[in-house]
Assembly symmetry: C2
Homo-oligomer: 346 residues x 2
Amino acid sequence: MSTQTVRILLVGLGNLGRRFCDLLAEKGPPVEERYGLRLLLVGAADSRGLAYDPQGLNPALISQIKQDGGTVADYPLVGRPGQAANLVAYAEADLLCEASPVNLQRGAEPGLTHVRLALERGMHVVTPNKGPLVLAYQELHNLAARQGVQLRFDGTVAGGLPALYIGQRDLRGAVVRCIEAVPNLVTGYILELLAEGLPWDEALERARAEGVLEADPSFDLDGWDAAAKLVILVNAVMDFPARLEDVERAGITGISGAEVLAARREGRVYKLVVTAERRADGGVDLRVAPTPLPAEHFLAHLGRKQMGVVYHTDIYGTVMAAIDEPTPLPSAATMLRDIMDIFCGQ
Amino acid sequence: MSTQTVRILLVGLGNLGRRFCDLLAEKGPPVEERYGLRLLLVGAADSRGLAYDPQGLNPALISQIKQDGGTVADYPLVGRPGQAANLVAYAEADLLCEASPVNLQRGAEPGLTHVRLALERGMHVVTPNKGPLVLAYQELHNLAARQGVQLRFDGTVAGGLPALYIGQRDLRGAVVRCIEAVPNLVTGYILELLAEGLPWDEALERARAEGVLEADPSFDLDGWDAAAKLVILVNAVMDFPARLEDVERAGITGISGAEVLAARREGRVYKLVVTAERRADGGVDLRVAPTPLPAEHFLAHLGRKQMGVVYHTDIYGTVMAAIDEPTPLPSAATMLRDIMDIFCGQ
């Protein structure tokens, strides 16, 4: 078996990017042995700087620098201050992993610029960053097609669950009539605490203490994250050009602990559920809402660290999938899944 | 978009083959429009005869003939008595759908001969028939690789659930440490009746009356079907050459209704569970056994018409999937899924 080298740029070294470096260090050798694929990290950038070495950077060292609170600008010899966009614009590489922070305001920047630039330069792009997909799904797909490269984003929906691959590939030939999903961990965790009788402020406190809550909790609690994931799911699986502004959205902040407790006493489980239902006229109704699910519903069984999706189809029955994800590792591993899929084909 | 024609041979016109004809009739036009793929059934065979027409047979007519209790030998003008193997040996086609009955005894014939012959002639093969895969997994894969064609068998495990695609593709790069699955519908149905308090003979009677039970019920009840599916799963997903004789197998016939009832009173749910566990020495322990699952186990929630699988991995967390399959249509549709996957690539 001949070995193929994939030169990778990684932009974003937060929770996911740093773990992706760990994965490259750990999985590089077995992936090369098993699939003949040499994953070579040639460039990396965070918000403070970048490093580029055509011979390959040491992903374990980058991970260590980040865990110690440093920046990749401090990488020995080849690290320097600078903007990630410069790395994407000038480095020689085959593929960009875009893992910069999600930003649905301000035009999904800087992620959108990075993705566009990489595609324009003929690189494949792999990204768990929802922003560019939510704001420019069709534009980016058209660009990738024109350039003859792949754009993959399995990590944008429901963490490490291959929700998009199941929906796009395994349901080919079917009409997907309805999608239901619980794609957000934070809201499930807080609803669970409320169901145990904790008051709202203590539940928030606990989530914050466990590092589950973002600095701006509104992104999760008000349903923006779930809505963004629904938009991507529907574009990818239902082939329908859904937009964020088409989603009827209610977050969990309007729910009282008493409501959650009362539902639980009746055997119902509150989850922040996203739903897409195909209408008779060809349109799709999009909804994010806290929903008291009956105990027998597939999504009612999801545990604290679990996300799930249900596809109602015409010819494949009802296909359901869930993931238990105690750490962000599976979300970071979606980048490995996407890369393997591009280069190992079928 | 240019249109590619796929000339298909279909062997076996039972429950799955007949429904696949319905699917070709219903899904042919939208698949051609959406994917530029023209699915042309040029040959079909059942146990009594065959029909071959390079210009294409009418799948809806074949389905009608079979529903009326006839044979494809009666197909107007081109139907004739004869053996399926002759069709596979002489017809010009791109792909064989092998849907003849499962037969783990007698060398998995006639399915194995059909699959070998088609691969040797350079056809792709799609099959929901477990027999050939269980008995000759590696041989058939080697043959397909030498011939540069695809061998797909998503329908051999857990009906319409894409258990193999999830395990083989979406978990690429991971070590799958353990697989648990409930891949058999019949045993789940009977265990459910026992849990409702029906005595064994009445449960069997009911299953037979509803057409769920095969003429030889031992294949399902004694765990042979589940064991065969486990062998295919482990070969495909764990990359381990498991054989049927390696499986420690117990069916459900040794379980009394009283045991099932007692478990249910304690909140435990009996299912016929298959398990594959990787040992430290690199081997894999294979087991089929009726198991009283705790209520919080993913597989404990499966309903009467549901099957499921759980993959425990090192980097993708725990990935779980299930299907609700009220009719055999999703199982037949796996042949469409496999064909689409071969010809529509990624």
